[in-house]
């Protein structure tokens, strides 16, 4: 680097440290480790234990370098680990490139590491992408001098139902144990025993059940950790890798999809410092085979009496067109009767929250331009009108708002009706990192401190379910919010009237920034493209005529419906009345507040068109079913909770499958309209053309707080229900992933100490409502608000909505299950 630095762009930074590595002068920020400073000089020092996102440990000793001058004129007599030592001004470092001592030390370490390592590379999952293999070739000696007896262990042991451990392959770098302790906060694996018999172990009674356990496989520098779903399935060099975006939550985590012979073999975390760094949740990693069962729909189906029969595409489209046309014209007739100039027909669209932004856009445009209705709603879950207003006012068309990086810089983060570990794993890891690294203060408005909250070091703002709005109005004094603070509000806030309005008010009053974090990957995108009755693409309010004109200009349509459409509940009620047709995408009745009302709506609807990937309760009740493409088969994008567009290409492009957009375009054609877009790329271009609304935003919701009941009366066994979905639950997208489900948290009912005592609750309890009952083990947690019981919403075999017909904030009875427990009452 002798060229004179004439560039005026380079301004000297006082926090840079200049040192010499292999004769090359480099300047790096203060605090940089030598191993990373060397990378800037183009020198790759071999390493195993070192990982940039983990705390240094200096265990493998592979990265030894010679330091003839530590910057103070004196050198180190012995080689030093470059992964633990920070740079110093004037330091001289000689790596394996220029120092025979460093080179010999590194070769010696590799010889030691390989000595007890089995030569089973040909059958090892890691073979071909193995850091040990690679570095043995690049930095090791050609031959080992070891002639003795290798240390052996019995072959793999399950450390969870998903993760297997081959102890003899392990080089004891402690990456997996450090990840679990430092990043995930789940120190369920640890190094045990000593010397060459040291090994990764688990507690006898606590298997490695972490939502993030799969990351340990990916950062393992050898094949010691493997997953039961990928083990022995493939060779790395036979795989085709495609970058993609995870679809299981609203974080938009970057992933890598590896496929072979037209089938996805595994998924890995992508490296995206802005979003998920290098980590993903186990669900994002391991849940991708749910559509490989026998229930995958491969041809259109049309109703034939009580059954659906396969049909050709033209026939299915004809049937759908006939049914929809009747519903549309019915609506037009009604319009004529009412004498209004524009009104929604007797048809509506339920999209669900899993669609790509482009597909959601297709539905939004199809509803407005073809079905001539504003009755469209993506919310296949408990929701409210207040929420729709909140989304229109504060979320839609706001672009990139609070970011993951902002979370790390925040002064305080307040969580409202939001459990990051269960509902947005990437956000959880960010918040935990910020708390651990820089002491970020986190508060959670919740009935108790969940395990995830404890791991984030969060403080509890004790809140019985239903009282969120009140609590936000009168936060304890120690919760100090200012302009540097961030309020993260979850989708569950919709179920408690006033909460979203109170959060908006709080943000306005304190200057704190507010972000809405839904659970599903397609939720934010659906908001952006107008899958709500009151919203058009780009956050344009339907009620605003100039906003409609904006959209009409791009769409080339003469008019757009300007009336109030129906939301999901309204559509289902209308359908239950019989004179209403539905177009339904990925929706499950069990996700709604009242699953039976959804079933009744679907059954009584005048006509149901379903676009689905698998047989479902919706397809069973549909008149026409169109098979659509899986996410891995199509390009598209998700908009994550930050408002960041996360585009991806098709991992397995398949010209024989139609995506939602293409089916809608075909229906539009057949109905005599024109959707105008047939491909994700065209849809994305049109979304870009529409851009964001720059006119007046929709008004803020003005919902008043409905007083929540006093939750203190625990005496009669009536408790207020707190509930949310855990990450690994009975969701259909986890179907077939038994190994993953094996790591799910055991469903339990949680109550506080006093409630347990007052009700005489023992090891098992019966939770009941007039609609049904659930038997669960009891867990007593110290800080649960009195008079509250927590249940997982949708644990396998335990559905709160199906079995109890109750929502968060509702009332349930909790009773000791048998007399054996009652005897323990006195304890």
């Amino acid at each position: 680097m002798t060229a004179a630095d004439t560039s005026s762009e380079v301004t000297p930074r006082p926090d840079l440290v200049a040192l010499t590595i292999d004769g090359i002068e480099v300047s790096v920020p203060k605090g940089t480790l030598i191993i990373r400073a060397a990378e800037t000089a183009g020198v790759n020092i071999p390493r195993f234990c070192d990982h940039p996102l983990l705390d240094p440990v200096g265990a493998c000793r592979q990265c030894l370098v010679d330091i003839p001058d530590a910057g103070n004129g004196r050198g180190f007599p012995k080689p030093q680990a470059s992964c633990t030592m920070e740079v110093a001004p004037g330091m001289v470092v000689n790596t394996q490139v220029t120092s025979p001592v460093a080179k010999k030390a590194q070769e010696g370490m590799l010889e030691f590491l390989l000595m007890n390592h089995p030569l089973d590379c040909p059958i090892c999952d890691k073979g071909g992408e193995c850091p040990l293999q690679n570095q043995a070739l690049s930095h090791g000696k050609a031959e080992s001098r070891f002639e003795g007896v290798k240390r052996t262990f019995p072959k793999p042991i399950n450390i969870s139902s998903q993760i297997l451990l081959d102890r003899e392959r392990c080089v004891l770098c402690a990456r997996c144990t450090r990840f679990s302790e430092q990043i995930a906060g789940d120190p369920f694996i640890a190094l045990v025993e000593r010397g060459a018999l040291q090994q990764v172990g688990i507690y006898e009674s606590e298997p490695f059940e972490s939502y993030f356990s799969g990351n340990t496989i990916q950062i393992c520098p050898v094949g010691a950790l493997t997953s039961s779903i990928y083990r022995f399935r493939s060779r790395p060099f036979d795989l085709v890798s495609v970058p993609s975006i995870a679809e299981h939550d609203a974080c938009g985590a970057a992933i890598r999809v590896d496929h072979r012979r037209g089938e996805v073999m595994r998924r890995l975390a992508g490296d995206d410092p802005e979003v998920n760094e290098e980590w993903i949740t186990d669900r994002d990693r391991f849940a991708f085979r749910s559509a490989r069962g026998t229930d995958r729909i491969t041809t259109p189906l049309v109703r034939d009496g009580d059954t659906l029969r396969p049909a050709s595409w033209p026939e299915a489209i004809d049937v759908a067109v006939a049914g929809l046309r009747e519903a549309i014209s019915g609506g037009a007739a009604q319009t004529a009767r009412r004498g209004t100039d524009s009104a929604s027909g007797r048809v509506g669209v339920l999209t669900g929250g899993r669609l790509t932004r482009e597909n959601a856009y297709g539905y939004s445009k199809f509803a407005r331009t073809v079905l001539n209705t504003n009755s469209i709603d993506f919310r296949s879950r408990p929701s409210s009108n207040e929420e729709a207003e909140f989304l229109a006012h504060a979320v839609a068309g706001t672009g990139l708002g609070v970011t993951n990086a902002d979370l790390e810089q925040a002064s305080t983060v307040l969580l409202v009706d939001f459990e990051p570990e269960d509902e947005a794993g990437t956000v959880f890891l960010r918040l935990r990192k910020a708390n651990r690294k820089s002491g970020l203060k986190i508060w959670t408005v919740a009935p108790y401190l969940s395990r995830g909250s404890v791991k984030m070091g969060a403080g509890l703002v004790p809140t019985p379910p239903g009282a969120e709005a009140e609590v936000l109005g009168e936060l304890p004094a120690e919760v100090e919010l200012d302009a540097g603070s961030i309020i993260l509000i979850g989708e569950r806030a919709a179920t408690v009237p006033g909460t979203l309005s109170a959060a908006l008010g709080l943000a306005e009053q304190t200057g704190a920034r507010l972000a809405w974090i839904p659970r599903r990957a397609g939720d934010r995108g659906a908001v952006e493209v107008g899958c709500l009755p009151g919203l058009l693409p780009g956050g344009r309010p339907v009620a605003d005529a100039s906003a409609r004109v904006d959209v009409q200009a791009v769409w080339g349509s003469e008019t757009l419906p300007g009336d109030d459409g129906l939301d999901a509940a309204g559509m289902l009620t209308a359908a239950a009345g019989g004179d209403f047709a539905l177009v339904v995408a990925g929706v499950e009745p069990g996700d709604f507040a009242d699953p039976d009302a959804v079933r009744t709506g679907l059954e009584n609807a005048s006509f149901v068109v379903s676009l689905e990937i698998r047989r479902s309760e919706v397809t069973d009740r549909a008149d026409v079913v169109f098979p659509v493409a899986l996410n891995e088969q199509q390009a598209g994008s998700f908009v994550n909770w930050e408002g960041r567009e996360r585009e991806f290409e098709a991992a397995l492009p398949d010209k024989t499958t139609m995506n939602d957009l293409r089916v809608l375009a075909a229906l539009a054609d057949a109905l005599g309209g024109d959707l105008g877009v047939r491909t994700p790329a065209a849809a994305a271009a049109e979304i870009a053309e529409l851009d964001r609304w720059d006119g007046d935003r929709a008004a803020a919701p003005t919902s008043t707080i409905s007083g929540s009941g006093d939750q203190d009366g625990a005496g009669d066994g009536e408790l207020a229900l707190a509930t949310w979905r855990t990450m690994i639950d009975a969701s259909r997208s986890n179907d077939g992933e038994d190994a993953l489900l094996g790591t799910a948290r055991r469903p339990v009912a949680r109550v506080g100490v006093r409630t347990a005592r007052d009700l005489g609750l023992g090891e098992r309890v019966m939770v009941s409502t007039t609609a049904g009952q659930l038997e669960l083990p009891l867990e007593v947690v110290p800080d649960m608000v009195n008079g509250v019981v927590w249940l997982p919403t949708n644990a396998p075999g335990f559905s709160v909505t199906e079995n109890l017909r109750v929502l968060a904030g509702g009332t349930v009875s909790v009773n000791p299950l048998d007399s054996a427990e009652e005897e323990g009452e006195d304890k």
Partner: protein
């Protein structure tokens, strides 16, 4: 034993070891015990630190770092409490000075702990005792109980306003816990493995607070310095290694045991005190300070046993545990036994120590059996070069020291191991101190 050689002894720490029930408080006080504490409490902590610094006391655990200087590294402005931790995890093969001291006169250590705590501003002190020596832990606990009852420990010691609490903590049986940072992890209830430095314990040690870690003998030497003054202490010993210390002789000597003498005494003098090597045999090799100090031979008999003298001979003073091996001993077998110890005690954290000791044992086993192959010695030395100075802590340096020094002085014996088993060259029964049926069969 000649009169002259008896004069070489300077019993200070060992003075009362032969007394009736010397471990009882009353008996300790009868010989002047706890007078130093009263004297110390009248001085300022800084005066005490300077006293120990000026006396020239150096760490008796092996490395010989000046004790007073270590004390002065404790930051004064740290908001966390300061801790004193006494390393009583005496586990090195051959080393046996702290355990006899704590058994014979535990109050010497307790008194030293109180004075040292006061000097460094610690209100909590810990004695981390090797887990296997339960009898020592019990004796210490008894001594601590007595000291509390007498008002030497606890709140407002002897009305001085000084508070010191002393906790006896038993280890769980690992040599590595003698390494000071591993000791801290173990004391905190974690698995004992060495910590990354920096931060150094003086800044962030026990519970991330400023911590001074000293050897038992170092702390036990503090009361006598307070009692008798720095001039008295530094009048003993050599120029850079001041004072008296306990030398432990074991192995093929007539009267093994602890000999307290000024720094710089020679092995020849100590052997005389111990009655010499077994009759009919002569010295073959010896360790100056336990198995991790490179071995020496009879050519080093007249070297001063102080830090500089041993370093000058390419070894280390270590714990002054002089293991004496006579001419019946196989150096190959001895080296194997030592390396087996280090293999067993390697904590497993770093590669060279964990894997290297595993490998060395396999080569040495082959050599012991006379099945060595050409090149084994060179390979062994090269492995030692890849282990020593490459590992996380000093354990591995000790593990290879015996190998490299044994080859340095007895290379031909290792070469003989290419064809003849060690038990044929040196029938094991002959080197046994006590006849055992198993080893006798080999003789």
């Amino acid at each position: 034993m000649s009169e002259q050689s008896v004069d070489l002894l300077t019993p200070v720490l060992t003075r009362n070891w032969g007394d009736e029930r010397a471990w009882k408080l009353s008996n300790y006080e009868r010989v002047g015990g706890y007078a130093a504490l009263r004297k110390a409490l009248k001085q300022t902590p800084d005066e005490l630190v300077n006293l120990v610094k000026d006396a020239g006391l150096r760490g008796r655990g092996g490395a010989g770092f000046p004790t007073g200087m270590k004390w002065s590294f404790v930051p004064k402005d740290n908001p966390n409490p300061t801790y004193l931790v006494i390393n009583a995890d005496e586990s090195e093969p051959g080393t046996c000075k702290d355990i006899p001291l704590m058994m014979a006169s535990p109050h010497t250590l307790v008194e030293g702990a109180i004075i040292s705590s006061y000097a460094i501003g610690a209100e909590h002190a810990f004695i981390y005792v090797r887990g296997e020596v339960l009898h020592v832990a019990r004796r210490l606990q008894q001594a601590v109980r007595e000291a509390y009852s007498a008002g030497y420990l606890g709140k407002n010691i002897l009305g001085s306003g000084v508070n010191v609490d002393l906790v006896i903590h038993s280890g769980a049986g690992a040599y590595i816990c003698g390494e000071e940072t591993a000791l801290l992890d173990s004391l905190e209830g974690l698995r004992g493995q060495p910590r990354l430095r920096p931060p150094f314990p003086a800044v962030a040690g026990l519970y991330a607070s400023p911590t001074v870690i000293n050897n038992v003998e170092s702390i036990a030497s503090v009361p006598c310095i307070v009692d008798n003054g720095k001039e008295w202490f530094s009048s003993m010993g050599t120029e850079k290694s001041k004072g008296m210390t306990i030398y432990s002789l074991s192995g093929h000597v007539k009267r093994p045991g602890q000999f307290e003498a000024p720094m710089g005494i020679t092995l020849r003098q100590l052997l005389e005190l111990a009655g010499g090597v077994r009759d009919g045999h002569k010295l073959k090799f010896w360790t100056p300070g336990g198995s991790s100090t490179p071995i020496l031979t009879d050519e080093h008999l007249d070297l001063p046993l102080d830090y500089e003298g041993m370093a000058g001979a390419g070894s280390m003073l270590g714990t002054k545990a002089l293991q004496i091996f006579d001419d019946t001993t196989s150096v190959v077998r001895t080296t194997l036994r030592w390396v087996e110890f280090y293999k067993h005690e390697s904590c497993g954290k770093c590669t060279p120590c964990r894997e290297g000791s595993w490998w060395l044992v396999q080569i040495l086993l082959r050599l012991e059996a006379g099945e060595g192959v050409e090149g084994d010695i060179e390979k062994m030395l090269d492995l030692c070069d890849n282990i020593g100075g490459r590992s996380f802590c000093a354990l591995a340096d000790g593990a290879v020291a015996c190998v490299t020094s044994a080859v340095r002085y007895f290379r031909e014996e290792f070469e003989q191991a290419y064809h003849t088993p060690a038990w044929e060259l040196f029938p094991y029964g002959r080197s046994a101190l006590f006849a055992s049926s198993k080893e006798g069969a080999n003789a």
